[in-house]
């Protein structure tokens, strides 16, 4: 009896604590945050300031801290899926060697990268393990070692990888990975090279 009272009291306190910590962060109006961001980059050129303006997906993912309700997630997935542009010839595989260079390169789109001195990279190694002989890899994303091999180099996976690089939010709403195609970070051609790097039997990723 006494134990259950203590348990109830503890649970009650825990619930109150959770409510308080949630409350602590809830009282910022989106407009106030937008203003803070805008004012923080006052000296930036207008085309650069435009990068601070959020699209619907960025808004939803920010306000829900990447945890949208099932309905919102479904709408988001559908909206992002519609953004994917496919190669006109239906071929998803490019050149894995070019893909490797793109996976290594973090160049591009930073304010020190203008005028561009080289093409924009995908910077895949910042977050993923790929070729296991490259030990300088990040761990924000899953390891992609032998990605194609463990899938028996199945053709449907070529398309799936292409879609995932082009717009990962079409399958993972509010996931961390950038929408490389939709956000015009990489071109269709570049994404195909990356697909080959992940999916080609000749690629060191699958050796």
């Amino acid at each position: 009896m006494r134990a259950s009272v203590i348990v109830a009291a503890v649970l009650c306190l825990a619930a109150a604590g959770a409510a308080m910590s949630a409350q602590k962060t809830a009282n910022v109006k989106p407009a106030a945050l937008d203003r803070l961001m805008k004012d923080g980059f006052k000296s930036a050129a207008p085309d650069w300031q435009a990068r601070l303006v959020q699209d619907e997906t960025q808004k939803v993912c920010s306000s829900t801290r990447n945890n949208p309700s099932p309905q919102v997630a479904q709408a988001l997935r559908r909206r992002e899926k519609a953004q994917i542009v496919y190669p006109a010839d239906g071929v998803f595989m490019g050149d894995w060697k070019t893909g490797e260079a793109l996976a290594q390169s973090g160049y591009g789109l930073r304010y020190t990268d203008y005028p561009p001195r080289q093409e924009t990279g995908g910077n895949c190694y910042a977050c993923h393990q790929l070729d296991k002989s490259e030990v300088s890899y990040g761990t924000l994303g899953p390891s992609l070692v032998a990605y194609g091999k463990v899938r028996n180099f199945g053709a449907p996976f070529e398309k799936a990888v292409y879609e995932h690089i082009y717009n990962p939010q079409a399958s993972q709403p509010c996931g961390s990975m950038p929408r490389f195609g939709t956000n015009k970070v990489l071109t269709i051609e570049q994404i195909r090279h990356l697909v080959a790097y992940v999916m080609s039997p000749e690629s060191p990723v699958n050796k």
Binding site: Q104, S136, T139
Partner: protein, 277 residues
């Protein structure tokens, strides 16, 4: 090998690493090993920390009569009363009534240079932070000086004033805001424990113990840059990585982020200036 020699080797190693587009993992590991060795040697001889030269320079600037009003910064109120330097850095950012805003150490220094010494704002902010291998700036030196004067204390930024609570809340919201061509928020990289970019470990700022360790380490001497890096500069570097524009030095945004991070890190030891790659 003397400390100075280790530092030279380290800088050479980093130059090689920076110069090559595909910085091999072996280079990275070698750099990490050298850095660790250097940090160990520093523990035996703390005076060999190059950032202490900046702190000394900062103290000299603090005491020097400058500007149209020909006064020193010694009357600057850093939050604990005019002229009180000891422990002031530990209690920043905080709300300042005279400026009617929350300020961090760097923003407050700019304020004092402007109001006390009468220096034009444009001149103060002409070069607030240094680029790689440039000479350190006055603001970097002054900030390092203030940090050294709080060494060994706990991070203890006040949260009592409504403006302080507002800054912390705004900073937290900004931390989770996704934007730009990469869809990044601060939380994208700093929202989980044990993650890294390439080989660089990333602090998870929602975890007090990680925030405490990390926030107490700045300003830090960066061997790859050859200069001290302040928190304002560190945040600008994050925005650069996020493919956002150059953030305004001392803006309400960077102060709010600092206020949020300081709140997360409350109680952490101030170990600054530390050595980073």
């Amino acid at each position: 090998m003397s400390l100075r020699n280790v530092l030279v080797v380290l800088m050479l190693a980093l130059c090689v690493g920076v110069g090559m587009p595909r910085a091999g993992a072996q280079d990275d590991n070698a750099i990490e090993r050298e850095l660790e060795r250097y940090r160990t040697m520093l523990k035996d001889d703390p005076w060999s920390n190059p950032a202490l030269l900046d702190a000394e320079k900062g103290e000299a600037i603090w005491k020097e009569k400058r500007g149209p009003k020909d006064v020193s910064l010694e009357a600057c109120d850093l939050g604990k009363g005019a002229g009180v330097v000891d422990g002031a850095f530990a209690e920043l950012p905080r709300y300042f009534k005279d400026a009617n805003r929350v300020m961090d150490a760097e923003t407050r220094l700019v304020w004092c240079m402007e109001t006390l010494q009468g220096l034009p704002r444009a001149e103060i902010l002409k070069r607030p932070v240094s680029k790689a291998n440039q000479q350190g700036t006055d603001l970097e030196a002054l900030t390092t000086f203030l940090a050294v004067k709080s060494q060994g204390r706990k991070l203890d930024a006040p949260q009592g004033h409504p403006k302080e609570r507002e800054a912390i809340a705004l900073g937290e919201a900004a931390f989770y805001r996704r934007q730009g061509p990469m869809d990044f928020a601060c939380a994208t990289c700093h929202g989980e424990t044990g993650r890294r970019i390439r080989l660089q470990p990333l602090p998870h700022f929602a975890k007090p113990e990680e925030a405490q360790k990390y926030m107490g380490e700045w300003p830090a001497y960066r061997v790859s840059q050859g200069t001290v890096m302040t928190m304002q500069h560190r945040l600008a570097d994050c925005f650069w990585q996020m493919r956002l524009p150059l953030v305004d030095y001392g803006s309400d945004l960077t102060v709010a982020l600092s206020a949020y991070l300081a709140a997360q890190a409350r109680g952490g030891d101030i170990t600054a200036p530390t050595i980073k790659r």
